[in-house]
């Protein structure tokens, strides 16, 4: 018999995809036909795009139809629908009611699917799942060669019979799942693609390619991207295909809450990775076969989450992630297999025999069993042992002996992560009023010490999470700041308006998600640019550089908004106070002491204290000492410009300024615009109208040139740069081999990435975008790891790119190194020309100008550099060199003040208000005159006597020199320690607070982490790199928001445990 054609799965999925909907589908199968039919009707009734599933029972899977029939006769419930035992007629009746509404797919797990397919087709069904490998190795003892033969035959028959019955056969690979866990993604993606090719070879032209969620969302999105790209390359264009993600297929969370969270996580992966369909799991997964109701709940939740995730995705999407590692591994595997035979099935059999494909922990007799997968500290799967897999970069053999304990630990990784706080009993969702009232004071108290951007970010993420899961009990958060609660010292709101930020307002946000239809709240709100336009339509400009004070007002606005939205049991107490000490209280909590608070006990403390005002050392100390001896020689020490004593420098006095970086521009503004002067437009540039109250500025630095401007911004606020060569995965892989040498292992790739942008920009200007795509492909194919820059230059040349001078970073940072100038006037002319050339390059833009685009890459790949260098990534010797040589050059070239600042420099030079001393500037105290003396080693006749000296360099953070009583108390007690990089024999004492990886607990001087403290931002500089980031960015989360969220997540775990203490957990066998 033949039923009428049901809904076509591929068309159904394609239609949903164009509507922007994720198709959701259950795993569902019961032995009783009536209940099976009910289940399908319930799925069809879910208000979302769904697909119905008939999952078959284990007897049918192993072709033991007799046992299935016997069980049905006796009414013994099976773990699925015994399709062959019931037969085509019963099956057709089961699907009848939904056949016109939703597609129905049969999922089985049989290495000999002939009977199943035949029955299906007679029941009008031609949509199923499987593959010669994936329905064999994980599912029994049928030899692989036999499975390949059976699948080849059954697939051909399905293709023919389906078509003659008027239904389009569709097969989904199960290769993306295999044994469900501990298999690194490359093998899953490879088998999925190979099985897709196998189906196509045997006549099926509508396929879906599966991938099962693993232990890392980031890695999963990469895997989906690799799967899509490889399928595009290998499947003939006529084949209809889509991607299907399976919610986690390994050991599942025990608690309903954990199960729901894992499901939600899989939805996010599907949306980010661009999978069109998702097969869900239910809250029953860890325990038993789910009920229809549980399946409906899971489908409904997944569909809702998908709609929400489409609006604001957390984390980068498939096009933005760096899929190169998975893609390279997968490609190598697939290509090695396809070389073995033109027949995909034969190739698969040979590949397993040779160990070129080898599934970790699989007991099947045809699996070599030489590989091992494992989970790294970031939760990503990797090859602990790659056996004979033909992986790029050679074999991995790091597997330790596997023990039962270690196995269970790895198997339960995801369950543990998602059950996390929930284990130990259900947390009541609504605060039980009377019980809460019975408590005197809060049950938990958290302190934020420092409410600059880092502190506010933690509060924002914590509030977002608390809103999702309100605590049942009172929680108090102390928000403490020594200067201004809600924005902190650097961004305080009473500073002069001429002090500007260095980031365009549109690129700054303190909300962790974009604004939506609702009111601004934790998780959704405007960027600084959007807010600025709203509060000051006349001046607000997303591309403009906002006054710092304005950013301070924005920060406080965010702070207030977040506070207003907190669920009732959470109270924030903002206190302006300088915390003086933090010590363990006898009860085991932390005791905070400050003049305003006295002593308060708190459970958790987030230390986001920001910029210190360190004691001067070395050269600074000498200068300070001279000033102390000579009251006539004024000395202004380095600090945030708003806190420098610049106002009392007399008009007309000669003021030396050391440093030509970002601080210099602040000082320059304070002493010119801040004194009533004005810049007027004049020709292409500016003209300065003095007020007459300015001092004369004599500025210098080692290079003698003001740091170059950032290219005219052409990047949208949510711009994401996806590196091709200098990738996180490359750095992560390199680090697995041990501490890196910056010059050897890191810098070549960084420079190659910059070269890529340099040449790519030039190629695009000449030949358009396609040329760049081709360029990137060729570079990827030909890059030689021992000299990555060579391939870039060579391929650009072959494509007809112009001969560009190599980017020489040190030379750009010190353009006049080794040059001598006969007079200050001669230098003046040369440096003014230099600034004009820089402005011309900057005008070309940070996308269209080859040089500025390449230099902007330095900003774009900061996060990759962190992967390489943070937490002792470099050997001690290399770390020292990195800090001494690379960091100053990179910050000079990527700090990038807005162009207007350099126009101002030119105008001030013209007006005679500013003089640049020249390269090799030195400032000393002149004992004879009692005044300061400035000179430039490379400029004859530059020496000049000065009335005041301003140190405009940003002091290198070093906790050991921070005089703040809090820092002192923490160091004394050994709670904070300065990070010593002692890798590879060397020793480098860095002065950065030693912290763990996320969630960044301080590591005590005795080596133990303080798990109830967290440190973010500047104090940790040198343990981590480039922490002086003062805002999040719209769009995908960067490290700034990610770090804050990691702390918030950890705090949430603490709060959940606090309300219902978890009993000690034992792994149960």
């Amino acid at each position: 018999m033949t039923a009428g054609a049901g809904v076509d799965l591929a068309a159904h999925v394609a239609a949903a995809a164009t509507r922007g909907e994720l198709v959701v589908q259950p795993r569902m199968g019961m032995s009783d036909p009536r209940r099976m039919a009910e289940g399908l009707r319930a799925v069809a009734a879910v208000p979302a795009a769904t697909v119905g599933t008939i999952t078959l029972d284990s007897y049918t899977r192993v072709s033991d139809h007799a046992a299935a029939r016997a069980a049905v006769r006796r009414g013994a419930p099976l773990n699925g629908f015994p399709l062959v035992a019931h037969g085509a007629e019963v099956t057709a009746r089961v699907v009848r009611d939904v056949a016109g509404t939703i597609p129905v797919q049969v999922r089985h797990g049989s290495a000999a699917p002939g009977d199943i397919f035949a029955t299906m087709v007679r029941a009008g069904l031609a949509t199923s799942e499987g593959g010669p490998v994936s329905y064999c190795l994980p599912y029994g003892r049928v030899p692989l060669a036999e499975s390949v033969r059976a699948w080849a035959r059954a697939t051909c028959t399905l293709a023919e019979d389906g078509r003659s019955a008027g239904v389009r056969p569709h097969l989904e690979t199960f290769g993306g799942c295999l044994l469900g866990q501990l298999c690194p993604p490359s093998l899953l993606v490879a088998v999925s693609v190979l099985e897709g090719l196998f189906f196509v070879q045997h006549g099926v032209d509508s396929v879906s390619l599966s991938y099962a969620q693993q232990t890392s969302e980031g890695q999963d999105v990469e895997a989906l991207t690799a799967l899509r790209r490889l399928a595009a390359r290998l499947l003939p264009p006529r084949v209809d295909r889509h991607l299907v993600l399976y919610t986690y297929m390994g050991v599942y969370p025990q608690t309903a809450e954990g199960a729901r969270r894992l499901l939600a996580g899989s939805v996010d992966v599907a949306v980010r990775g661009g999978a069109e369909r998702l097969i869900v799991k239910t809250v029953a997964e860890a325990h038993r076969i789910p009920t229809v109701g549980e399946n409906v709940e899971a489908l409904t939740a997944a569909a809702a989450r998908a709609r929400q995730a489409r609006r604001s995705v957390r984390g980068p999407s498939g096009d933005e992630v760096d899929a190169s590692e998975v893609l390279a591994e997968t490609t190598a595997l697939v290509e090695a297999v396809l070389e073995l035979s033109d027949d995909v099935g034969t190739a698969l059999v040979r590949a397993f025999a040779a160990g070129l494909l080898d599934v970790p922990f699989c007991l099947h007799q045809d699996n070599a069993g030489a590989t091992q997968g494992a989970i790294d500290a970031d939760g990503r799967l990797y090859w602990a042992d790659s056996g004979r897999l033909p992986l790029p970069g050679g074999a991995r053999t790091r597997a330790g002996r596997i023990t039962s304990r270690r196995l269970v630990t790895m198997l339960s990784h995801a369950a543990r992560r998602f059950d996390g706080p929930a284990l130990g009993g259900p947390v009541p969702a609504v605060p039980p009023g009377p019980v809460a009232a019975a408590h005197e004071g809060p049950l938990a108290r958290i302190a934020l010490v420092g409410t600059g951007p880092r502190g506010v970010a933690v509060l924002e993420r914590l509030a977002a999470r608390l809103t999702e899961r309100p605590p049942a009990w009172p929680v108090e958060i102390l928000a403490l700041d020594a200067v201004e609660v809600g924005c902190g010292r650097i961004w305080r709101t009473d500073q002069p308006e001429y002090l500007l930020m260095n980031t365009p307002a549109g690129e700054v946000t303190m909300f962790s998600g974009p604004p939506d239809d609702g009111p601004p709240r934790a998780g959704a709100g405007p960027s600084l640019g959007e807010w600025w336009q709203a509060v000051d339509p006349a001046h607000g400009d997303p591309n403009g550089y906002a006054p710092r004070a304005l950013y301070g007002r924005y920060l406080r606005q965010v702070f207030d908004t977040v506070l207003a939205g907190l669920p009732a049991p959470v109270r924030v107490r903002p206190v302006r106070t300088r915390v003086r000490s933090l010590t363990r209280s006898p009860a085991g909590a932390w005791r905070l002491e400050s003049p305003e608070l006295g002593g308060v006990d708190v459970d958790r403390v987030v230390l986001t204290t920001g910029h210190a005002s360190p004691e001067p050392d070395g050269e600074h100390a000498r200068l300070a000492a001279f000033a102390a001896r000579r009251p006539g020689a004024r000395y202004v020490r380095a600090d945030s410009a708003a806190d420098m004593a610049l106002d009392d420098l007399p008009a007309g006095s000669v003021v030396g300024v050391l440093g030509l970086g970002l601080s210099f521009y602040d000082v320059m503004a304070a002493l010119t615009v801040g004194r009533g002067g004005r810049f007027e437009a004049a020709g292409d540039g500016l003209r300065y109208e003095p007020s007459g109250r300015e001092p004369l500025l004599v500025a210098g630095s080692r290079s003698g040139v003001p740091v170059p401007a950032r290219g005219r911004n052409q990047k949208p606020p949510d711009h994401v740069y996806v590196p091709l060569l200098f990738t996180r995965s490359r750095m992560r892989t390199a680090r697995r081999r041990g501490p890196l040498d910056f010059r050897r292992d890191v810098e070549p790739w960084l420079l190659a990435e910059m070269d890529l942008v340099h040449h790519g920009t030039a190629l695009r200007r000449l030949y358009g975008k396609q040329a760049v795509t081709l360029f990137h492909e060729r570079v990827t194919e030909t890059v030689d790891p021992t000299d990555p820059r060579a391939a870039v230059v060579e391929q650009a040349r072959r494509l007809g790119g112009p001969a560009l001078p190599a980017l020489d970073l040190p030379a750009r940072a010190r353009p006049f190194a080794g040059r001598r100038f006969g007079s200050p006037e001669a230098y003046h002319r040369v440096v003014a020309d230099h600034v004009r050339r820089d402005l011309a390059e900057a005008e070309e833009g940070n996308v269209d100008g080859p040089v500025k685009a390449a230099l902007d890459t330095l900003r774009d790949v900061r996060a990759v550099l962190r992967v390489a260098v943070d937490h002792g990534g470099l050997t001690a010797a290399s770390h020292r060199e990195f800090l001494a040589s690379f960091v100053p050059v990179a910050s000079a070239l990527s700090a990038g003040p807005p162009r207007v600042r350099l126009h101002q420099v030119l105008a001030l030079l013209d007006a005679g208000v500013l003089r640049l001393l020249g390269p090799g500037s030195v400032f000393t105290g002149d004992d004879r005159t009692g005044r300061w003396r400035g000179d430039a080693a490379q400029v004859s006749g530059a020496a000049v006597l000065l009335d005041a000296f301003v140190d405009a360099r940003i002091p290198t953070p070093d906790v050991r020199r921070d005089p703040a009583p809090l820092t002192r108390s923490l160091l004394r007690a050994g709670v904070w320690s300065s990070f010593t990089n002692a890798s590879a024999g060397g020793r480098l004492r860095t002065g950065g607070v030693h912290v763990t990886g996320a969630p960044y607990h301080p590591v005590r001087s005795d080596g133990a982490p303080e798990q109830d403290l967290y440190v973010l931002g500047i104090p940790t500089e040198h343990t981590r790199w480039f922490t002086q980031v003062g805002s999040g960015r719209p769009g995908r989360w960067g490290d700034f928001t990610g770090d804050a969220d990691a702390v918030a997540e950890h705090l949430m775990e603490f709060l959940a445990q606090r309300v219902t203490p978890a009993p000690a957990q034992e792994v149960v066998a």
Partner: protein
């Protein structure tokens, strides 16, 4: 822990004919080996006859059956009856454990039926790992001809 030398058993580890799950088997093999036992692991979907053939050849000190697919109570009962009908294997201590039915907690319903069918012990979800070690420790020492009735665990 008991001494490996005096107490190591040869254990036949298997699942039932319709059950494809193997992570449980990989885990139990490691656990048993760590306790000093020698393990013959038959892998997934083991037909009753295959298990019998191997058991007759190996003469294990104990048989450990693990099943999690929900058919364990059906397949397990059939298997143990066949085993107990075999003269050579009638007295070999045998234990079954895992997720034996499809209803989660209701697994307990199946315990008595499986004991009646011939298992010496039935271990359900939530029983600590030590149960298996205790069960084996209570089996007759290796190569002992007859040490009386096997102990019941669980």
């Amino acid at each position: 822990m008991t001494s490996v030398l005096t107490r190591g058993r040869t254990v036949l580890l298997s699942t039932v004919s319709s059950d494809a799950h193997t992570w449980n088997l990989v885990y139990l093999q490691l656990l048993l080996e760590e306790h000093g036992h020698h393990v013959v692991n038959l892998g997934p979907c083991v037909p009753d006859e295959h298990l019998l053939t191997v058991a007759r050849a190996v003469r294990p000190d104990a048989i450990v059956i693990s099943s999690v697919n929900g058919h364990g109570h059906l397949d397990g009962a059939r298997l143990i009856r066949t085993l107990r009908d075999d003269a050579d294997l009638a007295a070999t201590p045998a234990v079954i454990g895992g997720k034996l039915g499809i209803d989660g907690e209701d697994d307990d319903r199946h315990v008595q039926a499986l004991l009646d069918a011939g298992f010496d012990a039935v271990v359900t979800e939530g029983t600590p790992a030590s149960a298996l070690a205790e069960f084996l420790a209570a089996t007759p020492p290796p190569r002992a001809v007859d040490a009386g009735a096997p102990a019941r665990a669980a």
